[in-house]
């Protein structure tokens, strides 16, 4: 009898275990199938349009006030002089004519009188470009494919918005459409984000526009008189920020093999499509896009929209892409629910990291503390030094070394996602020091001076090797 009872118990146990396994196994198959059917990466070829890459849990790091410090009376940036691209031509002409600061017209005379160092730097860049071209034919030819690729990436771009004032150009054509009544700001925000992904963006955020970020004087005409202050249009109530990444492998091979054109082009297209979409709903919309078709400063708007925090190198650091992205903004009066800014540890991290400042070939990124700029505390970037380096290297123009070396600018794999979560959730800052130390030892870059062209004392170095498809010597018989 005891033997029989034992046999029955064992059989019962085996049967129960088998049934449980079958239920669990079938449930697992069902769950796995559900995930396979729903997963964004199942949209073959269209993964990017599903918003799958914007996967950081921002709600956990949402803050009521943006992670920058307002310390006094604020002023707006002068787009004519504080944007390097707007002023550099004046300094170049002065260099050719042998003119001095006092010979310049306003506002450049006043700006350079206050920043004489910038005048000296800005006069040099044409000469630097000439010296780069004196490099050996072998060195110059190495970048044929990189330059062709950068040029091709910039070949397609939406037409400009023209030179009508915002009160005309931002609105649908006269009498074409009354604004549709939207059901709710929350639903509109959801819709705008979804169509932004469909238009090709990877990141999108919405904020109310802070007028402090609008240029006091325009950096390009776009319907504004260059000698009159911009009165912020009343219909610029909201700002939608979009961002797309630069191709990862060439980006790591900066400054010589990378380009901004790929992300510039994609973000421009997204912003123009978005503006067109909003106008077709009867509301006003104006795209502010690279390169230099802006009436405002983009990084602080990105911070307000909860896409990231501004780093030591002045570029916004996002949880998903680090700083490997190029943004565009659409200003509009379409009522939408806004996003909250986020604080995920970047301010603390940048205090100790300083890798971008140490690797910056031009020394444009400060290694010290934040300074007060126009009423806000931030790290100062010396744009004249930065732009001079753009002219001191081969390739497609530009640098982007600070973007490539930033520890946050890493591809989406478990190693870097884990590091991001550790830094974001560590209130002590101990992990920041440890991970910065690891970054410096495990992922070192060349000597900063090596990034310069050989004719300027450098070695034509790039942060990482170029991808195989940009190695000219492997494809073109020279």
């Amino acid at each position: 009898m005891p033997e029989r009872q034992l046999r029955v118990n064992r059989r019962t146990l085996i049967k129960a275990a088998g049934a449980t396994s079958a239920v669990l196994g079938l449930s697992g198959l069902g769950l796995s199938g559900y995930r396979a059917g729903k997963a964004p990466d199942s949209y073959t070829g269209c993964e990017g349009s599903q918003g799958a890459a914007q996967d950081f849990d921002r709600k956990r790091f949402a803050v009521d006030t943006p992670p920058y410090e307002k310390v006094g009376p604020t002023s707006r940036a002068d787009g004519r002089t504080e944007v390097i691209f707007s002023r550099v031509g004046v300094a170049r002409s002065a260099a050719e004519k042998g003119a001095k600061i006092e010979d310049l017209d306003e506002p450049f005379k006043s700006y350079y009188a206050q920043h004489p160092e910038d005048f000296e730097f800005d006069k040099q860049n044409r000469e630097l470009r000439r010296k780069v071209r004196e490099d050996s034919e072998e060195n110059r030819n190495r970048y044929i494919l990189a330059e062709a690729w950068a040029g091709a990436m910039g070949a397609v771009s939406p037409r400009s918005i023209g030179n009508d004032p915002p009160e005309v150009s931002d609105f649908p054509r006269q009498g074409s459409r009354e604004p549709f009544k939207m059901k709710s700001p929350a639903a509109t925000a959801k819709l705008i984000k979804k169509v932004s992904y469909e238009f090709g963006t990877v990141l999108v955020g919405i904020t109310k526009l802070n007028p402090d970020w609008v240029y006091q004087y325009p950096s390009s005409r776009r319907g504004f008189a260059t000698d009159e202050p911009i009165e912020v249009p009343k219909h610029w109530k909201y700002a939608i920020v979009v961002g797309t990444p630069m191709s990862w492998d060439p980006m790591y091979a900066n400054p010589t093999y990378g380009t901004s054109n790929d992300a510039y082009s994609k973000s421009r297209i997204v912003a123009f499509r978005l503006a067109s979409f909003i106008k077709r709903l009867g509301y006003a919309a104006r795209p502010h896009t690279p390169g230099n078709s802006y009436d405002l400063m983009v990084p602080p708007i990105m911070v307000d929209a909860g896409l990231g925090e501004q780093g030591r190198h002045s570029v916004v650091i996002t949880p998903e892409l680090g700083c490997n992205f190029r943004p565009a903004v659409v200003t509009t009066n379409l009522p939408m629910a806004t996003d909250k800014p986020i604080a995920f540890g970047v301010q603390e991290f940048c205090k100790t990291c300083k890798i971008c400042a140490e690797q910056c070939p031009s020394g444009a990124i400060c290694k010290g503390d934040k300074e007060v700029v126009r009423g806000y505390r931030r790290y100062r970037l010396h744009s004249s030094k930065c732009f001079n380096f753009w002219n001191s290297t081969h390739g497609s123009m530009g640098c982007r070394v600070c973007i490539a070396v930033c520890p946050y600018t890493r591809k989406s794999n478990w190693v870097h996602k884990t590091a991001l979560q550790v830094t974001a959730n560590d209130p002590t800052g101990l992990s920041h020091k440890m991970l910065t130390g690891m970054q410096k030892r495990f992922y070192p870059g060349p000597e900063p001076s090596d990034y310069y062209a050989a004719t300027l004392g450098g070695k034509n170095a790039s942060y990482r090797e170029p991808p195989w498809w940009l190695k000219t010597e492997d494809f073109i018989a020279l």
């Binding site: 796995s32 990466d41 478990w414 190693v415």
Partner: protein, 93 residues
């Protein structure tokens, strides 16, 4: 999607882990090593560290970061060796 990104990969990993645990149990019985409950987490942690280290080296190589892979391998080898001796002594208790 490649095999290594799919569920089948993790299923296979799970089967292999089960087989390894059964083998470890048999081996310790043959060796006369007692395996009270606290020894299992110790061994699992060590094996997990080894697995993560190997995965880090592989990921770094996949990213083209040979220097990071090499340094990671060296550091992991040193830590795994030292901790391996400690774990072995604990198992013999």
């Amino acid at each position: 999607m490649s095999f290594f990104e799919g569920g089948l990969f993790w299923f296979t990993e799970g089967v292999l882990a089960c087989l390894a645990i059964i083998a470890l149990r048999t081996w310790t019985q043959d060796k006369g090593i007692r395996m009270p409950f606290w020894k299992w987490p110790v061994v699992c942690t060590w094996v997990l560290f080894l697995g993560v280290s190997i995965a880090y080296v592989g990921t770094s190589l996949g990213e083209g970061e040979r220097h990071a892979a090499f340094l990671g391998a060296v550091c992991a080898a040193v830590i795994a060796s030292v901790s391996g001796v400690v774990v072995w002594r604990l198992l013999r208790l």
